[in-house]
Symmetry: C2
Subunit: 335 residues, 2 copies
């Protein structure tokens, strides 16, 4: 029978009145239950239930400074790479009782700073998925608001990075063992930290085999880049390539098919990340499987543990997650 709609919302003052205690007691009974005797606590909680009391987050935030909200900042919600991250952070945040705010920076560092700066007071912290920010800006921002970065390692800012570079080495071994001698890297956006890291790893791995390191690109992020990339790779005459990410690789696959280039008979392709779709593309993509979702969860854990205990105890500042090569059907012996 709670049909008494259109009423002034219930506040802790109402509960206080109903139970005959002070509002402060109600507040404590509700938020720090141990601070109040069992009997009173019960009475208050019962009253709260009866009155259908719902806390008012903004008021709470104003008084306490804690908002119970964490933002996930991505450069482009469109990118399927983030899907896993959204999912992982969502799960873990919910478990920790935080709300999940989604911010899209549209690939702009300025946007990234501005948004975070503006919203800092309404956030308890933020998780930066693949930040485009220069290191010093990142550090400055971290002073304003608790931050955890993903796939971006800057001294002083806690981070979780997926160790794709190590995976790249595996990929190169794989290709070399298939007889490939001419392997090219398909480069992503220059500002991307991951892109740099992957290219470096690639160079190192090829060097170990005394093979030349070549790359095409850079290409802007997005599946559309696949067609340009495919054409460029074909022009190099390489027999295999490693793409900056699966989005590129998937795009290339489509384009190569269009051009009549057989994969893997004419050209082997390996991607990075193992995003949704990599397993049912044509052919299924050999790729570096990244624990993206886990990275999201991890990032939240790092952040939340820092938020919960007022004592900023020393803890792991940077966690590294391994990747492994998932061999499917886009790679094969040298033609």
């Amino acid at each position: 029978m709670e049909g008494d709609a259109r009423k002034r919302p219930v506040t802790i003052a109402d509960i206080a009145a109903a139970t005959g205690v002070a509002v402060s007691t109600v507040s404590r009974a509700l938020s720090r239950p141990s601070r109040v005797s069992a009997a009173t606590r019960e009475r208050i909680q019962a009253a709260a239930r009866d009155l259908d009391y719902v806390p008012h987050p903004p008021a709470r935030a104003l008084a306490s400074g804690r908002t119970g909200t964490v933002a996930l900042v991505v450069s482009d919600v469109t990118n399927p790479f983030y899907f896993g991250m959204i999912r992982g952070t969502q799960q873990q945040l919910k478990a920790a009782g935080y709300a999940h705010l989604l911010i899209d920076t549209e690939d702009s560092a300025d946007h990234e700073i501005a948004m975070l700066h503006t919203m800092r007071r309404s956030l308890d912290g933020a998780i930066l998925g693949a930040s485009r920010l220069p290191a010093r800006a990142l550090v400055a921002l971290a002073a304003e608001i608790p931050l955890v970065t993903v796939n971006r390692n800057v001294r002083g800012v806690p981070s979780v990075v997926i160790d794709t570079p190590a995976g790249i080495a595996q990929a190169v071994e794989h290709l070399v063992s298939l007889g490939h001698r001419s392997i090219v890297y398909v480069s992503g956006p220059t500002q991307s930290w991951s892109n740099q890291a992957r290219w470096q790893a690639m160079k190192a791995a090829l060097d170990r085999h005394h093979l030349p390191a070549a790359r095409v690109g850079p290409f802007p992020s997005g599946r559309g880049s696949g067609v340009a990339a495919a054409d460029a790779v074909v022009n190099t005459g390489a027999t295999a390539c490693v793409a900056f990410n699966d989005l590129f690789a998937l795009g290339m696959l489509v384009r190569l098919r269009e051009r009549g280039v057989a994969v893997p008979a004419d050209l082997s392709v390996v991607g990075c990340d193992d995003i949704f779709g990599a397993d049912f593309s044509n052919p299924p993509l050999t790729t570096l499987t990244a624990p993206i979702e886990q990275a999201g969860r991890m990032a939240v854990s790092l952040l939340v543990s820092r938020l919960d205990h007022r004592a900023p105890q020393p803890q792991r500042r940077a966690v590294v997650l391994p990747t492994y090569l998932t061999v499917r059907e886009s790679t094969g012996p040298r033609p």
Copy 2:
């Protein structure tokens, strides 16, 4: 030179002090500029800029009741169908100056109610992507907080629905014209409104051709269901099927390939939604292309226009977006 970190944050009181006006004037100069003379306004804005003033959203929310936040509620962030919606709402919300909160109900109606009920005070409104709520619960909730539903039409709650049923008819025509006589529907979760709508449309369309309407399922949402679904369809001996959504269809494709059932030679498959991946699967999927992203944008527009003007002017309560059949390679002549 704003290196004066670790300071007490700037408030409008500081601006008031700096310019020699009252805080109320500052507040008005910042939020309703026309309410203040040009000269004062300039002075105040300049001071705000100098002091690097950033408004405090919770305080604003507490005083005004408006939070500047809108939630997108999905049953499962994991489902690629929502990716387009997330993208669309994100874009439009940002443009309208709202923050974008993401809520996952984990496919539970109880969760959905509880979350929304709890967060209602920190939200200006919510967009329900494929709500699982019974109609009356939906209406009750809409009384608590401004709502717009997507793909769910309940009297009294503004909505945008994607007209997949009309598309289904097209799909059936397509299949019939290819000679198929035995077409089966692969049913999704029973509580899904869309699923019901699609099945009804399917029945009607088949009826028009005096063909029997059959279905398999229901299957739980998720790509995994594809294997069970594929097996079930094969058992019916049908030569074509329409799947509740692309996720199912994509899953089926994988399973059918595994079993050696050729698509479309042995079995034609059509999906719904045209999610990411439908165009590069093997074979590329014939599907009903739904303007999901546009639906998201539309939903936000509906909501925001209702929020902005205090006068709840009569306006379009339900918008319907058309779909069309995208024929790719998963459908072909009857074997």
